[in-house]
Every structure is written in C-alpha cells, then in structure tokens.
C-alpha cells in the first residue's frame, strides 16, 4: 500500500513537473492574486474588483482573481512588496501611472519600471481642474489671471505628492509661467475634493470620475481637462491645450495589471493575450460606465510604450523640483 501511494505521489510530481517544463500549459491551475496598493473602497480597488469579476469565465482565465489590498505610503508599500513577490504568475499587481513611476524617480523605493512587466491597461482617469460651484472663476484664464495678480496666492488642492494630481499641478505651473500654491491633501482625492467644496482652497486638481460625480451633485464647476482630448463623460469641458496651455496627458491616471519581473515568458504571453479581452467584456464595460469610471483597454505593447514615454516626461518634469 505504502509503495503504491509513493508511486502515485511520484507519478503526480512527474506529471506536474513535465507540465511546467512544457511551457506552463495548464496555467492557471489555481486562483490568481491581484495586489492593489490602495485601501478597500478607493477608486483603484473598486475598479480592480469590477474588471476582474469575469476572470473565472470560460473565455477568460478560467480561474477567479482575488484582490489583496496592501495600502500605505501612497502605494509604495504595495509596490515594494510586489517587486519582491514570487514571480510565478499567481501574483499580479495593479499599477497606477504616473504614481509609481514618479515615486521611483523621486527615490526611496525598491522598484522602478524595470521591476515589473505590464500585462494590460483597463482605465484612464484624467485629472481635471475644479472650483466650487459658487466660485468667481469660469475658465482657466480667470484662474491664471488671479494667480498672476496674486503670485503664490492661488491655493489649490490635490491628492498628495508624486501622484497624477501633483504632476498636473507642476505642468500647470510650468505652462502658465506663474507661481501657484499646491496644497497636498493627506486624505486623498476625497479630502482634496472636500477642501474645494468647503471653500478651504480656491480650486483643485481631482480625478475626472470624482469631479463628474461632484458636478452632478451640483457642488463644483469643472474648468479644464489635463488630457489631449475632451472626455465623453464631460464633453462640454475644454482641454488645457484648447485653453492655450501646453499640457499633455502625462498626469492621466492609467490603471492596469502588471506582474513582477522574472515571471516566466509563456505566462506573460498567456496573460497578455487574455486579460485585455477580459477587460472588454460587456458586463465590465457597463459596470465601469455606471460608476463613472472611464474604461481604456490597452494591450501589453501599448502599455510598454506608454510606460517608456512617461519615464522620460516625468524625469524631465521632476528634475526641476
């Protein structure tokens, strides 16, 4: 009996061993973990749960994806962890560009763009400039006119340092050629939005999705989009370029899935082929649209190109700090 069990065990090991050797043919054999470097309930967490809800389908990964929150220090805790995580294909992570790239340029973290391999992008949430509903400002020109008259006196909020909002603020300051007072908020985008609505600050940079909701609620006006094109959710709001400011899409908050560098190439290829189609699922799209979250699916090659571009732009922008 003992012999029989030992034989069976040996055979089993041999089988799994050969399967692995033949290029991970059975991947995935168990549920996959997706690390989100922000707390439960945040925009990234919320969207990650939506875009992975169809992972168990026949035409997708055929295995569920479990979300694991590792929040702290503006995402640094989670990405530090992911950079060291086991690269076996069962550990994935959600990325936020430009956040993690800007943080790696700033230093003090254990990762850079080389630490991760992108799989696919699911969303793009541009930054917008918001002011309170009763503000005297009605366009970016009004805002900059005030800032020119009161150098350093235009207070505006955003969700912390080295995040999309901060990048947008730096770009605005540079493009307009005036000194502004960027007030980073420690309570994230929600805290920054509250500061605008309550009138603690004169304006703010915030996520398009949150600003869209706040405008629906009648609490803010949206004056400009920090992106190359207008957005379908708020197509009446002009871009910064339209208003005469040379600002590109470097601050757009791209969200997507990546794996630690060193993950076997066959697994990366498998994921890169399937994950984008999973994001394009009709149910995912309708849920994302319902929540006011812009969906933008990009494949691995496109994301690689986007990362490389951001690395260059951000290095130049942050060098002046």
């Amino acid at each position: 009996m003992k012999k029989w069990i030992a034989g069976a065990a040996l055979a089993l090991t041999a089988m799994t061993g050969s399967a692995m050797a033949e290029g991970h043919g059975d991947y995935p054999e168990r549920p996959i973990m997706l690390m989100v470097s922000y707390g439960a309930g945040g925009a990234t967490d919320f969207q990650a749960r939506i875009v992975t809800m169809t992972a168990g389908n026949e035409d997708a990964l055929q295995m569920p994806v479990a979300i694991l929150n590792k929040a702290g220090a503006g995402g640094r805790v989670g990405w530090n962890w992911l950079a060291q995580a086991e690269a076996d294909g069962y550990t994935m992570g959600a990325y936020n560009v430009p956040h993690f790239i800007a943080q790696s340029i700033e230093g003090g973290v254990d990762y850079s763009t080389d630490s991760f391999e992108p799989i696919a992008n699911w969303g793009a949430d541009p930054a917008v400039f918001v002011v309170g509903a009763d503000s005297e400002f009605n366009s970016m020109a009004d805002v900059i006119a005030y800032a020119t008259a009161n150098p350093g006196g235009l207070t505006f909020s955003g969700a912390g340092l080295f995040v999309g909002h901060h990048i947008a603020a730096l770009q605005l300051e540079k493009a307009a050629g005036v000194e502004l007072a960027y007030i980073p908020n420690n309570a994230g985008g929600a805290g920054a939005m509250q500061a605008v609505i309550a009138g603690d600050v004169l304006g703010g940079v915030n996520n398009l999705s949150d600003a869209f909701r706040a405008r629906e609620a009648g609490s803010v006006k949206i004056l400009g989009v920090f992106d190359l094109e207008r957005n379908a959710f708020i197509d009446d709001v002009p871009t910064m370029i339209e208003q005469g400011f040379d600002i590109d899409n470097a601050s757009v908050n791209y969200r997507g899935v990546m794996v630690p560098a060193g993950t076997p190439q066959p697994i990366i290829d498998h994921l890169a082929a399937i994950v984008p189609t999973m994001f394009e699922n009709g149910r995912v799209a309708s849920r994302m649209a319902a929540g006011g979250s812009p969906l933008l699916v990009m494949n691995r090659a496109e994301v690689q190109e986007m990362w490389a571009q951001r690395q260059v732009t951000l290095e130049a922008l942050l060098a002046d700090l």
Partner: protein
Amino acid sequence: MEFLYYMGDVFTPINFGLLLLGTIGGLILGATPGLSPTMTVALMIPFTFKLAPEQGLILLGAAYTSTVAGGAVSAILLKIPGAPANIATTLDGHTMAQKGEGAKALQISFIASAIGGLFGVFLLIFLTPVLATWALAFGPSELFWLAILGVTVIGTLDSSSVVKGLLSGCIGLWLATIGFDDIMGAQRFIFHSSVSGGINVIPALIGLFAIPQVIAMFAKGRSNVDAEIIVVQRHPIGDAFREVFSRKRALAIGTAVGSIIGLIPGVGGQIAGLVAYDQSKKMSPESAKFGTGHPEGVIAAESANNAMVGPSLVPLLTLSIPGSPTAAVLLGGLLIHGIFPGPALFTQYPEVVWPFINSMLIGQILMCVFGLLIAGWAANVARVPRAVMAAVVLGLAVFGSYSVGHSMGDVYVMAALGLAMYFLERFGFSAAPLVLGLILGPIAEANFMQGAMIANATIGQMAYFFTGWLNWLLILIVVASVGYSIWMELRQRRYTTKEDAQA
C-alpha cells in the same frame, strides 16, 4: 416622513433575510479582532454584485451598523478593541468582565449602542441638509484645533498620573510620525521595512491592549493554576434597561458627542468614543469610579460610537464626499449599481436610499436583540482558564494583525508594541493615551501643515488659525479642558491608584 413609506420594503422576505444576514454576520465579524467595520463592509461588497441595488445596500447598511456594535464584544471580553471606536469601551467594560459582570457590561453596551444608533440615524433622516453644511464648516484650522482638543484628553485618560498620561501620549505622537509624510514627501524613522507604510492603527491597537494582558495571564497562570475562578453573574435584561435609563447623563453625553463628532469627515469615528468617555467622566459626580468597571463608562463610549454611524454618512449622501473609510466602501457599493450620491439621490432613487437608511434603523434594533440574546452566554468567556485564554487571545491577535494588510510586518509591529506596552504598564503608563496620540498625531499634523500652507499663500498663519467663531469656540474648549485637568490634578494628587490596571 418619506422613510415610513418605504419601511415595508425592508420587510419583504428576501430583504429581511439579507438584513438578518448582515446583522448577524456583522456582529460576528465585528467581534473578531482586526476586522474593522471598514473591512467587514468591504468583504461584503462582492456579494452585492449579484443583488438588486436596494438589496445590496440593505446588506451593507445592516453590516455597518452591527460591526460597530460587535466591536464591543471583543473589547469587553478580551480587552481587544476591534476598531479605534471601541477603545473607550475596554476601559470600564473589560474591568467589569473581570469582576464577573461581563453579561451586564455586554447588555448595557448593546442597549446604549442601539439608543445612540437610533438617534444618529434619525438625525440622518430628518436633518441631513442642515448637517451637510455643518460637516463642511470644519476646514484645516478647525480640524487642527479639534485634534488639539483630543490631545488635552490624553493627560486625564486612564493613567496613574497626568504626567504619565502625557508621556505615553507623546510616545503615541512619535509613533504616528513614522512612515511617509504625504504633505512634505519626507521619509521619517523608517528603520525597518515593516514600518515603511507607517504604524497601522489596528495592529497597534491589538498589540497595545491584548499583548500585555496575554503576558500577564501567562505569568500568573504558571504560579497558581486554579486560583480565583471568576463567577459569572447572571444579569436580567430588564435590569440592564433600567441601568441604562438611570444613567441618563452618560447616555445623553455619549449620544450627543457621537452625533456631533461623527459628522466631521475624516476624524469622527475614531475619536468619538474617547471624547464622549472623557466628557462624561469630567461631568460625572462619580468620576473617580471611571476605569474601575463603572457602567457609565461603557454607556458613554458605546452610545457615542453607534450614534456616529448615521451622521458619518451625511457627507457621502449629500455631497458625494466619503467622510470615512467605511463611507468610501459604501460609495463603491452605490457606484457599482450606477447610483451617484448627491442632493438628487433622495429624489432620483428614493426606492434605494430609504430602504438603506431604514435597514440601519431596523438593524440597530435587531443588533440589540441578538446582542442581548448572546450576552449572557458570551460572558462565560471570562471563565475560560487563563492559560487557554492567553493562547486564544494571542492567536486572535496574530490573525487580526495579519488580516489587515496580509503582511507579517504588521504582526511584528503588533508584537513589538505589545511587548513594550507590557513593561510600560508595569510603570503605570496606559495604552489608551498612547493610542490616542497615534490617532490624533496625523490629524493634527496634516491639518496644521495644510492650514499653514494655505495661510502662507493667503492671510498669514495668525489670522488663519485665530479667526472665525468655530476656531475660537474650539480654542475655548481646549483651554477649559486643560484648566479642568490642572485643577483636578491639584485637588487630588492621584498618584497612587490604578494598581488594578496591571492585573
């Protein structure tokens, strides 16, 4: 009275089943150390994907309500506060349990929770538009003074002397500075990778309260195995109701403080219980009894932390700003069904909002009923032999700390802080002021920095922090609170008591 019109929706078979599920599940998860209300609600979100919007929100509303109250169970029986809201409950609640009055402590905590909770939800129902403007009145300068008001509580909270209370508060404030500073972008005191994200409050809470107790239990358990078996006294539920209603002052202070502070985005839920506890202690003629198993302590703390539930949702439902982490999770629960909170919410989706609010109302009552049912039985936890108890608490402490971020780093933080706290307690220091420092530090600092940055860009710091009636009101209360502490200290040099805190 629109909410009454939709009351029937809560009692359809499926909805009421979900309400029961949320309440019972919430109580159990809330009583589990480390599973804060935020995390419990987040865990339930995936189940709402498949439900109709109002059904999902009934589940979430009931779960939110009962996890806040469920946290009192582990606070009273195990001295592990499930969330910052339950810290104040441990101070008198656990002492009561040790005296064999666990059943009584649990009963009055559930009754006080339900009363505070119902009041809070009624505020949400009737006064939402008024409260929304009040929530926005707190800018950086007001929040800074509010945090300072919290700091003044530190000296008088559960220590053998004011100086020791202040010292442990300072340790807490220092611990709070560890990690990345979101405003200036500096990295501070990151001497080990476990603390790179700062000290997480939940593992710190578990370590500071539970571990010293575990060590003490192991130490005592060895010396005399079968000494002092606690007789758990039965306590009729009717007596518990009479007890709660005879302590009107504590109940009123707890409910009022919880409702007012709960409304303030970002601050409320964490300190409502402690501020209410401190205020009822200062205003009580029996203030010396606080900390020795006085029912008023439990009543004030628990009525406050449940009264906060309703008002804490005001900024979310009216302004679309999630005022607390739990509100942020609930926002996700709304968005997933394409429902945007805001002033139009009540007119556009009344069939969703009112059942949600009603579910919190009915949830409070169900929570109280179930809580009272289990109280007598759960109190027997106090009879478990020390060595077994210590092992169980240690296990729960490790589980609770790990589950916060799935990280051993948090477990190390919990263990290190717990071990240090064991020795600090030997010298008469106490965990409560330390935790308060840890919670208030970031609030005070961040708001001061933001306020200073705004002030420098506009009207100057003196003008910014010292104008406006709300600033002056808060400053006045701060001065009064400090003055009262000094006066009490001079009147009765209370250096000697509190030996029992080390038990």
